[in-house]
Symmetry: C2
Subunit: 108 residues, 2 copies
DNA sequence: TTAATAAGCAACTAAAAGGTTGCTTAATTT
DNA sequence: AAATTAAGCAACCTTTTAGTTGCTTATTAA
C-alpha cells in the first residue's frame, strides 16, 4: 500500500502514538497491551490499533508470552527519518548569510 | 487545533506534500501555484490545498506579486523534528552491545 | 477593451483514520 | 471445573483527508 517512510511518518504523526511510543521507550521492561492501555484514556482496542500501526512501521516489536503480548519500542527505524532530513538540513546548517541570500533571491 | 510538531509531522507524512516540498527546495527560484501544479498529475486546487497545509506547518512561504503567488520552501521548521528525534537517537547511537542487552532484558 | 491567465472559494465525494461496542477465544487462577 | 483475565476480531460511527468540479474575481496581455 504505502512505502516505509510514509508509514513511518504517518505512525509518528499521531500524538497518541508518539505518546505510546515514548512510554515504551522509557519503560524499563516490555509492557502488555493492557498495561499500556491503563496509561491512556482510551479503550484497549483503540490502543491495540495504534500499536498495530506502530508495529507496521517497525517502531514497536512484540513478544508473545501466553495470553500476554509484551510490547517494546524499537527506535531504529527513525534512522530513516533522520536520513530523509539530512538532505534538507543543509539548508538550515548553512551559514545564515547564505540562507539569507538564498531567500532574498526568491523574495526579490 | 493541533500543536506545531503534529502539524509538521502530518505535513510531511503525505508523499505528495513531500514531493511538492522537495520540488520547492531544489527549485532555483520561487514557483507560482500553477508552475507547481504543472509538475503534478493533480488539479491546481488539489495542489493549493497541499500548499496551504505546508504553509500552516511553516515549511512553505509565499510571496504575492500581482496575480501570482510565488512559493518557496523553508526547511527551518524541520529542526523541530530533528529535535524531537534527538532524544530517541540515543537508542540507536548507543553501542550495539548496550542496545542488545537492553532488548535481551525485555525479551528474556 | 476584450482575452486570457492566476488563483480563490464553496460544495461535494470517496476513502482513510481514530475511536467505540459487543462478542469470542485462549490462557490463567482459584 | 468455574471464574477471571488478556487479547483478537468484526461491525459500526464520526471526523478528517485527499481530491474533484464549477464558478468568481482580479490581474495582465493583445
Amino acid at each position: 500500500m504505502q512505502d516505509n517512510i510514509t508509514k513511518l511518518f504517518k505512525a509518528i504523526a499521531d500524538p497518541t502514538r508518539r505518546d505510546i511510543f515514548h512510554a515504551l521507550v522509557i519503560a524499563t521492561s516490555a509492557l502488555s497491551i493492557t498495561q499500556i492501555s491503563n496509561q491512556f484514556e482510551m479503550t484497549r482496542q483503540g490502543v491495540t490499533k495504534h500499536i498495530k500501526i506502530l508495529n507496521d512501521a517497525g517502531l514497536v516489536q512484540m513478544n508473545e508470552q501466553g495470553r500476554n503480548r509484551f510490547c517494546y519500542a524499537d527506535p531504529k527505524p527513525l534512522q530513516e527519518v533522520n536520513k530523509w532530513m539530512q538532505f534538507y538540513s543543509q539548508f538550515w546548517d548553512d551559514s545564515l548569510d547564505k540562507l539569507g541570500g538564498y531567500l532574498d533571491s526568491k523574495n526579490g
